[in-house]
């Protein structure tokens, strides 16, 4: 019998501390598979955020530098400008990228920085215990929206893929999910494409990954994976939001 599936080389063998059914575990694995398949391990510098994935450096076997909350895009800019030959990716949660880090994210994208952002959107602040995130759905109960998110008081969930796609410096943005085998396969393709965009020097690339958070959604892992389809994709539709390669295909 031949081995069909192997543990990626650039993923350390440390057991994940993430909750059962957490999307981070899948996302980490996919990024590592892409790093392996594209031969990038020796050139990659990753920037994990504060949050559940603050310990990402225990799993990704690449050089990694911790970032302050929300500042990943600025740190990535600094690394890439200082060392253009590197492959730089940020790995950020929804509060990190769409709340405290909105300015840094928009401006790195606007400058067309040749970095790749892996944006994990689980509609909640996970590590701190389940507070409202910028991407929390209307009506969703969290520890700071105990009566359900009310758009009059708390605003609407923010769609970063759509917003960033409007910027000229952005080369590629796709929203995917890691809640089913088919979606996981598509997510991996998107991640590979995003890194290729960086290698080609075409500008900013981002993959927004809708990710289940069973613990803070107060669901079983299977139910949380279903909830991504039932509820999240209605507010955050999957798909490609920008791809300049496609646009320029005719050139």
């Amino acid at each position: 019998m031949k081995t069909i599936y192997m543990h990626p080389k650039s993923l350390k063998k440390t057991p994940f501390h993430y909750c059962p059914g957490c999307g981070h575990s899948v996302a980490h694995r996919l990024v590592c598979e892409v790093i392996d398949e594209m031969g990038l391990q020796e050139r990659t510098i990753g920037i994990p955020p504060p949050g559940c994935s603050v310990f990402a450096y225990n799993y990704f076997d690449v050089d990694m530098a911790e970032s302050a909350h929300g500042r990943g895009a600025a740190v990535a800019t600094g690394i890439k400008r200082a060392y253009p030959a590197s492959v730089v990716f940020t790995y950020q949660g929804d509060g990190d990228l769409a709340g405290i880090g909105t300015a840094e994210t928009i401006h790195a994208a606007n400058r067309g920085e040749n970095v790749t952002t892996i944006f994990i959107n689980n509609a909640v602040y996970g590590m701190t215990g389940g507070q409202m995130a910028p991407t929390t759905l209307r009506g969703m109960k969290t520890t700071t929206t105990p009566y359900g998110r009310d758009h009059i008081l708390e605003g609407h969930p923010i769609r970063m893929s759509e917003i960033l796609a409007m910027l000229d410096g952005v080369a590629y943005i796709e929203r995917v999910a890691v809640n089913s085998p088919a979606n996981i396969r598509k997510a991996k393709k998107a991640i590979a494409k995003a890194f290729q965009v960086q290698l080609d020097g075409r500008g900013f690339s981002m993959v927004e990954i809708l990710s289940p958070c069973p613990t803070n959604w107060k669901m079983t892992p299977v139910k949380s994976w279903q909830w991504v389809d039932e509820e999240m994709t209605r507010v955050f539709p999957l798909g490609v939001y920008k791809d300049i390669a496609e646009k320029n295909g005719a050139d």
Binding site: D63, M64, I79, A82, Y83
Partner: protein, 355 residues
């Protein structure tokens, strides 16, 4: 070496380039824009170098962090309100032992304040400024030449001790024009710091971080940082004295205030008053040993700063009751002239019956 007439802000820029600064990230704020503009003009086109006008002072300090992670000599500059924004980033730089140079051309505060020169960020600069127990080396130039010299030294100190270094200037120093000589040539290729994160090729992957869920681990990091600070204090403390040999009263002042004080002292000396100046050059580490030594024979001190009294506390700590201390401060961006300061000193001199 030829001397050129330059404003202080531009001199910092030229000195940084000659010290091998590879990356500059800044944001417009009065009174330091000449520095940001100088780097936009002169650094951006240098091979391998990068200039970015960031979207905020917060973004700029985080870009410095990233560039330092990748081994580049990196610098940012701002003025007081913008430096407040950078405190989080500076704490992270200090925690992760990353070299960086941060220039503060101080202006009046607090709040939006004024655009005129002040010295009211002394506490912020010398006490860490951001959260946590840490220090940064703080240098206090008082002339355009010294701005240039200390900028170059700042990069060397930052790399040697893996620590952020703050250049505590002010709006007057930044705007005034004086002849300056640059004592180094710019390197053809900016230096890359050994051991930086450049990709795990031929070695295990490296992590730069301080977050830990184990307080004992963090405790040890703190002790380790402070052992280094003790070494810096031993090796790098610097101060300058002017006519203190026979002085009966010593003025303690830094930066532009020291320039004003020198003028006052020259006037007073011509009238026969025996007054000298002790000028800290490193504000952190503060030269408390030289002051302690001086206080064995000289008992009257006069601290003059353009703030409500910040460095005076360090002088008080250093004297430890071995000398009498008077304070004169002008906050808000008001720049007193030498004769005003001389008047206040001479009043004290005669009140104390010094001869």
């Amino acid at each position: 070496m030829t001397k050129v007439l330059m404003d202080g802000n531009s001199a910092i820029g030229e000195a940084a380039i000659r010290a091998g600064c590879q990356c500059y990230f800044g944001y417009p704020i009065t009174p330091q824009n000449e520095l940001t503009e100088y780097m936009a003009t002169h650094l951006s086109r240098r091979k391998g170098c990068a200039f970015v006008q960031a979207e905020s002072e917060i973004a700029a300090i985080n870009m410095v962090y990233g560039a330092s992670v990748a081994g580049a000599r990196a610098m940012t500059s701002s003025s007081s309100p913008g430096i407040s924004l950078k405190q989080e980033g500076i704490s992270y730089l200090a925690a992760c032992e990353l070299p960086a140079v941060i220039v503060n051309m101080q202006r009046g505060g607090p709040g939006l304040g004024s655009i005129s020169a002040a010295q009211s960020d002394y506490f912020q600069a010398t006490r860490g400024g951001g959260h946590g127990d840490y220090r940064t080396i703080v240098l206090g130039p008082s002339s355009v030449q010294e701005l240039a010299d200390l900028t170059m030294r700042a990069f060397d100190l930052a790399d040697r001790y893996k620590i952020p270094v703050v250049i505590l200037g002010d709006g007057v120093l930044g705007q005034m024009k004086e002849p300056v000589e640059f004592k180094r040539e710019a390197p053809s290729v900016p230096p890359i710091r050994e051991g930086a994160l450049r990709g795990a090729k031929g070695r295990p992957s490296k992590i730069i971080k301080t977050f830990t869920s184990n307080p004992s681990e963090l405790e040890e990091i703190n002790w380790s940082l402070f052992r280094r600070y003790a070494l810096i204090k031993k090796e790098e403390t610097a101060c300058e004295t002017f006519q203190t040999g026979d002085a009966r009263l010593v003025v303690v002042a830094f930066g532009i205030a020291a320039r004003i004080a020198r003028g006052a002292i020259k006037n007073l000396r011509s009238e026969g008053l025996k007054v000298g100046l002790m000028r800290p050059v490193t504000l952190w580490p503060f030269p408390d040993e030289p002051l302690k030594e001086m206080s064995k024979t000289i008992k009257q001190y006069f601290v003059f700063e353009m703030n409500m009294g910040q460095m005076v506390e360090d002088v008080q700590l250093a004297l430890a009751g071995q000398g009498e201390l008077a304070f004169y401060g002008r906050p808000g961006g008001v720049i007193p002239n030498p004769s005003e300061v001389a008047r206040v000193i001479s009043r004290l001199y005669y009140q104390k019956g010094l001869k």
